[in-house]
């Protein structure tokens, strides 16, 4: 397994956001984590990246225990998070945002990889010298993903990438995610858009109140009525 999370606990003061969670992602797999607002999905991703400390449990990545490593150290091991709300740096230009994506790299191939991102997203190439604040929501999401790709991820974690996008753009976004999966990138996808997420994922987990309440193959989950129940918050 590429990523193995065992008995993970995350607390914010009195709030127990993630409770004894177990999760694994294989090297060529797309796993989706579903659940309603406040289920602990974002806390889970932030803890895996190291942005939120974990109270207990272990996180192993590519065979190494990374539980105590800082976010930059995890990033250098090619574990990359595309955060909720995209967190584009609006005071920087599009190009500078991409350069920040490669902040941890010192190799000579950065320029070449940046050009490859521009080939993949021509909209970004056309706006490379503009401040990122002029981008539309869809373009910002492309920039966030392009920026993450520049860190050469082995595993990319996406936190609600479809949030705030029009239905057409959501469709394009999921085509992009499926494309990345087909290129062999491992992906951990947190989504509210259950239907689309289960379409591209091979496995899914449903979180509620910080724990996993349901887990299984994506095509089986799709028809499981307990999934709908989890979203409604009742039983």
């Amino acid at each position: 397994m590429l990523l193995e999370v065992a008995n993970l606990d995350v607390r914010y003061g009195r709030n127990h956001a993630v409770k004894g969670l177990n999760l694994s992602v294989a090297a060529d797999e797309l796993v989706t984590v579903l659940g309603s607002n406040g289920a602990g999905k974002t806390s889970l991703l932030r803890a895996i990246q190291g942005l939120t400390p974990c109270a207990s449990g272990t996180i192993r990545f590519a065979g190494e225990d990374i539980t105590r490593l800082s976010p930059p150290e995890r990033l250098r091991r090619n574990l990359v998070l595309v955060p909720e709300g995209r967190q584009i740096v609006i005071g920087l230009t599009v190009h500078e945002n991409l350069q920040m994506g490669a902040y941890c790299r010192a190799d000579a191939a950065v320029q070449q990889d940046v050009d490859a991102i521009y080939d993949r997203f021509p909209n970004l190439a056309a706006r490379r010298k503009m401040p990122a604040s002029v981008l539309s929501g869809g373009e910002q999401q492309m920039l966030a993903i392009g920026r993450a790709l520049l860190a050469r991820p082995k595993l990319m974690m996406l936190d609600e990438p479809s949030l705030g996008l029009s239905p057409l753009l959501v469709e394009r976004l999921f085509e992009l995610i499926a494309g990345l999966r087909n290129e062999g990138l491992a992906i951990l996808l947190v989504e509210q858009n259950t239907h689309m997420a289960l379409e591209v994922a091979s496995r899914g987990l449903v979180m509620e109140l910080g724990g996993v309440v349901l887990e299984g193959a994506a095509d089986l989950l799709r028809d499981d009525e307990r999934l709908a129940a989890a979203y409604l918050g009742g039983h």
Partner: protein
């Protein structure tokens, strides 16, 4: 659509420096036209004084822009440079350096300012960050930097006395341009201040560390997410702050020849006025604000006498923030994320 946006962006980039240059030239021309040589001379010395305010104002605006922290130790760093240089020189520690001793003394003074700035970082910012998480969310760094200001000033007072001391520069030359007398040290100072600020601007705009600083300014969490080790980059801000304040202190010492434990207070408050005037967090704002405050000061002395300076400067600040709350070049309300 993309064409018009491009032009708008280009205009925004060009606007600030062009306005600054035009305003400066207009002031000098007006001075000469309306008041003759006396006023023109005041305008020139106001701009030179302004270049020192500008350097200190940039130091203030840098820490506020990146760390959301009004660093009250900046006047102290300014003073430490002057006092350390005077102490070394008058104590006879630099006899080996011969005629260049004053230069060596000032260089050591700047190094002392940088060292003191790192000390402040260690005991205010870093310590508080370890204890409370994001120290930028607290007023504690502000209060503790005020504590450092008072402690440093009084330590220097105890060690060296409260008297104003003479720092003699064995170096004096004047240039006569169109009947206006300009001191060469003043010109060199002005050039150095501009060079230091230009270098800083280049670092922020064009280098990897500059991009990291601007990202932290906007959102430390995003910076961390992108692999910036925020704890390692923050000291860079304090080094730059020490450097800017130290250089300003050295230039002030050379030009005015007087040092005292409280020499930083007056310059520090004027620099804060300059920063607010220009727009908090904006480098160009600090530059424009510094020059405007310098000019306001010398012209105010000329027209209303020496006691009127504080009234003129702060009156101007109040008028500007009433008319334009963001300052001349500010882009947003006071807070983080405007480098």
């Amino acid at each position: 659509m993309s064409d018009s946006t491009d032009i708008a962006v280009a205009r925004m980039r060009l606007r600030a420096p062009v306005i600054a240059v035009v305003v400066t030239l207009v002031m000098i021309a007006l001075g000469i036209a309306l008041g003759g040589k006396v006023i023109a001379h005041q305008v020139v010395s106001g701009l030179l004084l302004g270049s020192i305010y500008m350097t200190v104002a940039v130091a203030f605006t840098l820490t506020i822009g990146v760390l959301n922290f009004l660093n009250f130790t900046i006047p102290t760093l300014f003073m430490l440079t002057g006092m350390a240089a005077w102490g070394l020189l008058s104590g006879g520690y630099l006899t080996l350096a011969g005629r260049g001793a004053w230069l060596v003394a000032l260089a050591v003074g700047v190094v002392a300012a940088v060292a003191a700035s790192l000390l402040v970082e260690r005991f205010t910012f870093r310590y508080l960050k370890m204890k409370h998480g994001d120290a930028t969310e607290h007023a504690i760094p502000l209060v503790s930097s005020l504590g450092f200001l008072i402690i440093f000033e009084n330590l220097v007072l105890i060690a060296m006395g409260s008297d104003s001391q003479r720092f003699a520069v064995p170096f004096r030359a004047d240039l006569h341009v169109a009947g206006i007398v300009v001191g060469v040290p003043q010109l060199v100072s002005c050039a150095m201040a501009v060079a230091v600020v230009a270098a800083l601007s280049f670092v922020l705009k064009r280098t990897k560390i500059g991009r990291a600083l601007r990202t932290i300014a906007e959102n430390p969490d995003t910076a961390s997410l992108l692999g910036v080790d925020v704890g390692r980059v923050v000291p860079v801000v304090f080094i730059l702050t020490g450097l800017l304040s130290g250089v300003a202190g050295a230039l002030f010492t050379v030009n005015y020849g007087d040092v005292s434990p409280f020499m930083g207070d007056n310059v520090g408050t004027k620099a804060i006025a300059a920063m607010v005037l220009g727009g908090v967090g904006s480098i160009w704002g600090a530059i424009a604000g510094g020059l405007v405050v310098g000019l306001a000061e010398t012209l105010s002395i000329q027209f209303f006498g020496g006691d009127s300076v504080a009234m003129t400067v702060w009156g101007l600040v109040l008028v500007i923030i009433v008319l334009r709350p963001k300052g001349l070049f500010g882009v947003a309300a006071i807070g983080k994320g405007k480098m």
